[in-house]
Amino acid sequence: MSSSVKIKTLTIDERQVGAREDQTILDVARENGIKIPTLCSLKGLSAYGGCRMCIVEIAGTPKLLPSCMTTVEEGMVVTTNSDRIKKYRRSLLELYFSERNHVCSVCATNGYCELQSMAQEVEMTHVHFPYMYPQLDIDATHERFILDHNRCISCTRCVRVCDEIEGAHTLDIKDRGIDIRVITDLDHPWGESETCTQCGKCVHVCPTGALIERGKSVGEMSKRKQLLPYLTKMREAHE
């Protein structure tokens, strides 16, 4: 980072904060201890902007913007937690739960799941939209990992880590709309993959029980959250 980087001042939730001009609202908020819920963003991976949980209000802009991908501007006035935003976040989370089949009590990540914790964070006590109950597969062909589409929220963290950090590009997304799916290679069973290095990074960045290690039963699958920050640090040190 060159020393010519400019500093901007802005207001987040009525607090004056300073930021480098290339920082996102989310980064600055976190530095200042202001919590904004996120599902798709993960430090060390490219930004995606798809989960919409991190939306914030910016004075003078009618649209809600994702704080993970909006860079700061001088004099910006940001609200991260108005009643309106809180209501939208809850509705969004309900849509996630209604989309696929989440049965926490029998899930390997029960107790360790970011989606599950998010329900508490955004104060969701039940889902008032109809559940869709899609019939989905579980790919258990890999000798070490399992991909359970019932629990996937299509955040693409796994796809990004596999591509950007591991460089294997085993994982990808196919189809569109409600039919989108995480796939391995060209939609062949994971166990047959010749590109997968079995590094397990996808499993540990997955926020839910969609990617788990084989043999983990209910509530046993905690994720190594420090994996990615560690790798990123090692990389930076190397450069």
């Binding site: 089949n101 926490c104 009590s105 799941c113 508490q120 006590t125």
Partner: protein, 177 residues
């Protein structure tokens, strides 16, 4: 508080685990008994669901035509209806059959997993709905007490809050699963 409130508890498509958790309230059960009269429960011997119940803890999902009848009757006679546990709130474990057709579920349940059996019973058992549903799909629910099972602390807290005339704030306390 002078007059005790009436409390009913029942389970529909649930595993009784939530009721076990209720019992886990332990010595505080005495406090509960100090505020509530239990007027209907699998734990007490009353056949008909009574009228004018103040609070009902309803465990389990709605899975059969009889469950639907029951939940409607419960709603009619209850002031504060609590969806008690994940099965009541989300349909939880019973909903695991919802991806499949009822016929296929029957086939799997009675035929494929029971060697030698070649009939699917159809008389004298309640008719299975197409899917297992959360309670709020059929009736208005006043309080969602989630968790599988909900913790004894949360159950106790909920009952006390209602008795004190407050709305229990469970969104930050309780957790699915």
């Amino acid at each position: 508080m002078n007059k005790k409130l009436t409390l009913a508890t029942l389970w529909l498509d649930g595993c009784s685990g939530c009721h076990m958790s209720l019992v886990d309230v332990d010595e505080r059960l005495i406090d509960v008994a100090g505020i509530y009269d239990i007027v209907f429960s699998p734990l007490v011997d009353v056949k008909e669901f009574p009228e004018n119940v103040d609070v009902t803890l309803l465990e389990g999902a709605i899975s059969t035509d009889e469950d639907v009848e029951m939940v409607k009757r419960v709603r009619k006679s209850t002031k504060t209806l609590i969806a008690f546990g994940d099965c009541a709130v989300t349909a939880n474990v019973p909903s695991m059959r919802n991806q499949f057709k009822v016929e296929d579920v029957f086939k799997r349940g009675y035929l494929e997993t029971t060697p030698g059996n070649d009939i699917i019973p159809s008389v004298n058992i309640p008719k299975l709905l197409e899917k297992a549903y959360p309670v709020h799909n059929f009736v208005h629910v006043d309080v969602f007490l989630h968790g599988c099972p909900p913790s004894a602390d949360n159950i106790f807290y909920t009952l006390v809050e209602i008795a004190e005339g407050r709305t229990p704030e469970l969104s930050k306390r309780a957790r699915f699963g």
